[in-house]
C-alpha cells in the first residue's frame, strides 16, 4: 500500500464540506491535467496567429509569423509529456495507439496529435525554412552543414519554380492547418464537455469556449515573447505589428468572455439540480481563481486596458512606450487568466461531489510527479525548446522586418 497517498488523503478529510461519495476524496486529474489544455491551447492559438499572415493576408503581423510557428511546435512537443506523466501506468501509453477504443474521445489523442504534428506543423515549418536551410548549409561547414543538409532533407533547389511551389504548399498546409488546430483543441474540450456525469463540464459550449480561450492564450503568448525577445536581441519592437496582433487579441477576448458569460447565464437560468452545489463551490473554493483571477484580472482588466489604448491612441496620440507597457501588462494578465480558466475547469469539475451534496478540496503537492515543481518544469520546457528552435531556424529576418539597421548582422551571428 502506498502510505503517502493514504496520508495525503487523510489530511483532506477535515476540509470536506457536506457529503461526498467515499471514492471522491482524491482529485484524480490534478495540476498536470491543468497544464495540458493550457499547453495545447497555446499551440492552437499560436498557429491561428500564424495563419492570419498566410491565409488572411494580414501583412502587419508578418514579423510574428515564424515565431508563432516555432512557439506552436515547442509547446506541442511538451503536450504529451503532461499526459503521459499523469498516467497510472506511463509505460503503457502506447496502448492508446495500438488498441484504441473508437468510442473514446481520449483514444483519438494519438491520431489528432500525430496529424497536427506531422501533417501541419512540421510540414509548414519545413516549407517556410527550406530555402533558408539550404542557404545555411551552403554557408557553414562540418557538422553544422550536415545538420542543415539533413534538416532540409537534402533538397538543393532554390529555383523560381521550387520557391513558388513552397508558397503554394504553405497556403494549402495553412488552410488544412486551421481546422486541424481547431480539432486539436476542440477535441480537448470535447473530452471534458462529453462527460455527462459531470454537470460542470457537460456542456456543448465547452469545446468552443476552449477554442476561443486557446486563440486568446496563443496570441497573447506570442505577443509577449515578441516583446521580450526583440529588445533582448537588439531589435526594435514593430508597433504596427503589435497593435494589429493586440487588436485580434482584443476581439478574441471579447468573444471568449461572451461565450463564457452565455454558458454561465445559461446554467443559472436553467438552474438544474446541481446549481446549488456549483454556486456554493464558485463562491467558496473557486472564488479567488474564478472570480478574481480568471474574470477580473484575466479578462476585464486587460479588456479595459486595451480599450483605453484604443481610445487614447485616437484622441491624444498615446505615446508608444505607454502603449507598450499597457500591452505588456495585458498579455501577462491574460496568461494568468487563461491558466486560471484551465484550473477552474479541471479542478473545479472535481471539487463537487456527484451526489451534489458536498465539496472536496485540492491540495497541491510541491514535489513528485503531480507536484508544482514538475508542472513549472513542464511550463518552462517549451521556452527552452523554443530557444533551441530559434537557434536552429532563426526567425530574425522576419522579426525585424521593418528594417532596423545593423541588426541583420547580429541576427546572422547565431542568435
Amino acid at each position: 500500500m502506498n502510505p503517502e497517498i493514504i496520508r495525503s488523503l487523510q489530511e483532506l478529510l477535515p476540509q470536506i464540506q457536506g457529503y461526498i461519495y467515499p471514492n471522491e476524496i482524491e482529485i484524480h486529474w490534478g495540476l498536470l491535467i491543468v497544464v495540458y489544455p493550457y499547453i495545447t491551447g497555446v499551440v492552437a492559438g499560436a498557429f491561428i496567429l500564424a495563419s492570419l499572415v498566410k491565409v488572411f493576408n494580414v501583412k502587419e503581423v508578418q514579423p510574428l509569423y515564424r515565431l508563432s510557428l516555432l512557439t506552436a511546435l515547442a509547446y506541442l512537443l511538451v503536450a504529451p509529456m503532461a499526459l503521459v506523466s499523469h498516467l497510472g501506468h506511463p509505460g503503457r501509453f502506447y496502448e492508446i495507439l495500438l488498441t484504441p477504443q473508437t468510442s473514446s474521445a481520449m483514444a483519438m489523442f494519438g491520431f489528432v496529435y500525430a496529424w497536427y504534428l506531422m501533417a501541419v506543423l512540421l510540414l509548414e515549418i519545413w516549407f517556410v525554412h527550406r530555402t533558408d536551410m539550404i542557404d545555411m548549409a551552403e554557408n557553414s561547414t562540418g557538422a553544422t552543414r550536415l545538420l542543415y543538409r539533413a534538416l532540409s532533407l537534402f533538397s538543393k533547389d532554390k529555383g523560381e519554380r521550387a520557391v513558388a511551389f513552397d508558397h503554394k504548399a504553405l497556403k494549402v498546409i495553412t488552410i488544412v492547418g486551421i481546422p486541424s488546430a481547431f480539432l486539436l483543441h476542440g477535441y480537448v474540450g470535447f473530452i471534458f464537455g462529453s462527460i455527462k456525469a459531470n454537470p460542470w463540464w457537460s456542456s456543448v459550449l465547452i469545446p468552443i469556449v476552449f477554442l476561443f480561450s486557446a486563440i486568446v492564450s496563443g496570441i497573447a503568448l506570442v505577443v509577449l515573447l515578441y516583446m521580450i525577445i526583440t529588445p533582448l536581441t537588439g531589435g526594435k519592437i514593430n508597433m504596427k505589428c503589435v497593435d494589429k496582433a493586440v487588436d485580434f487579441l482584443f476581439y478574441a477576448v471579447i468573444v471568449d468572455f461572451s461565450l463564457e458569460m452565455v454558458d454561465f447565464i445559461h446554467r443559472v437560468y436553467q438552474s438544474e439540480e446541481e446549481i446549488k452545489i456549483l454556486s456554493e463551490m464558485v463562491m467558496s473554493k473557486l472564488f479567488l481563481s474564478l472570480i478574481i483571477v480568471q474574470v477580473l484580472l484575466g479578462m476585464l482588466v486587460p479588456l479595459l486596458l486595451i480599450s483605453l489604448t484604443k481610445i487614447f491612441k485616437k484622441r491624444f496620440s498615446l505615446n508608444e512606450d505607454m502603449r507598450k507597457m499597457v500591452y505588456f501588462i495585458s498579455v501577462i494578465l491574460i496568461q494568468f487568466g487563461i491558466f486560471a480558466t484551465r484550473w477552474n475547469v479541471v479542478i473545479g469539475g472535481q471539487m463537487f461531489s456527484k451526489s451534489f451534496r458536498g465539496l472536496t478540496t485540492y491540495k497541491m503537492e510541491f514535489g513528485g510527479i503531480e507536484g508544482l515543481l514538475y508542472a513549472i518544469v513542464l511550463l518552462a520546457l517549451p521556452i527552452a525548446i523554443l530557444f533551441v528552435l530559434m537557434k536552429v531556424l532563426p526567425p530574425w529576418k522576419e522579426l525585424r522586418e521593418e528594417g532596423e539597421t545593423g541588426t541583420e548582422a547580429l541576427g546572422g551571428a547565431g542568435m
Binding site: H28, W29, L87, G88, E95, G349, K354
Partner: protein, 249 residues
C-alpha cells in the same frame, strides 16, 4: 456523360435508401441510440431493498476481504449511506464505516422525520459511460452484462472514474489501475452469490439473472416498485432499488 449521370443517379439512390443512413448510424455507439434489445442467456442484475437495510456494514467488510480492496476508507467497491431527513426538511447524509454502531437516535430524536440506509455499488449499467470513454478498451462489458476492468491493459488515465456518475470507481493504490465492483465475477461465474449478498443478514441485497423468470431477482422486480439511480443519464443501471427515497442520488 451518360456514365456519370447513371453513377450520380445510383449514388443518390443509395443515399436515399436505408443503406447510407445505416452506415452513418454505425458511427455512433448503437447502445446510446437504441433501447436495450431483448437478450438471451444470462443477464445479471442486482436488487437493493432499501427498507431492509439496517446499516450493519457487513457487506462492506465482506467486499473488502473478498476482493482485496484496500482497508482504508478512501477506496470502496460498495458502501452504505445513512440518510436523516429532519422535520424542517433538511437532509444529512453520511457514509457509514464498518465498526460504526448503527446509532438508534432516530427513535428518540423528535426532530427526525425519517431515517434510512442506502447500499451503493457499481450500477453495472447496460449502457456504461465508463466503457464508452476508456481509450484502450480496458474497461469492458461481458456478454452477461457485467462491466469489468482488465488491470493488465488499463493505463490509469482515470477517464472512466470521471465518467461514472455514481462514484463507483477508484484508482487502486497498489495496481495503479481503475477498480470497482465486479459483482464478484469470480464467484458468480461459479454459481455462487456475490460476497455482499451472501453476508447480508436481512437480505436487503439480492442478486441474480434478470432473464430467469423464477429467480429471486425476478421475484424482487415483480413484487416491488423499482427505481434506479440517476435515470435521466440514460446509463440504464442494473442495480435496482425498491422503496427508494427521492432524496437519494
Amino acid at each position: 456523360m451518360n456514365g456519370r449521370r447513371s453513377f450520380l443517379r445510383g449514388f443518390f439512390a443509395v443515399l436515399l435508401s436505408g443503406g447510407a443512413i445505416e452506415g452513418v448510424m454505425k458511427l455512433f455507439p448503437s447502445k446510446a441510440l437504441a433501447k436495450e434489445t431483448a437478450r438471451t442467456g444470462k443477464w445479471y442484475g442486482y436488487g437493493v431493498s432499501v427498507d431492509k437495510c439496517i446499516g450493519c456494514a457487513r457487506c462492506m467488510d465482506a467486499c473488502k476481504n473478498e476482493n482485496n480492496v484496500p482497508k482504508e476508507p478512501f477506496f470502496v467497491r460498495t458502501w452504505v449511506e445513512r440518510y436523516i431527513t429532519r422535520k424542517n426538511g433538511q437532509t444529512t447524509v453520511k457514509a457509514i464505516a464498518p465498526g460504526d454502531e448503527a446509532t438508534p437516535e432516530a427513535a428518540s430524536d423528535r426532530t427526525i422525520l425519517r431515517s434510512f440506509f442506502v447500499p451503493k455499488l457499481c450500477n453495472q449499467c447496460a449502457n456504461p459511460p465508463c466503457v464508452q470513454v476508456c481509450p484502450v478498451g480496458a474497461t469492458f462489458q461481458t456478454g452477461d452484462g457485467v462491466v469489468l476492468v482488465n488491470e493488465k491493459t488499463c493505463i490509469g488515465c482515470r477517464y472512466c472514474i470521471q465518467a461514472c456518475p455514481y462514484g463507483a470507481r477508484y484508482l487502486h493504490p497498489k495496481t495503479h489501475t481503475a477498480d470497482k465492483c465486479t459483482f464478484c465475477y469470480h464467484r458468480i461465474s461459479q454459481g455462487q452469490l456475490p460476497a455482499c449478498v451472501e453476508v447480508c443478514p436481512t437480505q436487503a441485497r439480492i442478486f441474480g439473472d434478470l432473464n430467469a423468470a423464477a429467480s429471486p431477482m425476478s421475484r424482487f422486480l415483480r413484487m416491488n416498485k423499482i427505481h434506479t439511480l440517476k435515470p435521466g443519464l440514460n446509463t440504464e443501471p442494473k442495480a435496482f432499488y425498491a422503496n427508494l427515497d427521492g432524496e437519494v442520488r
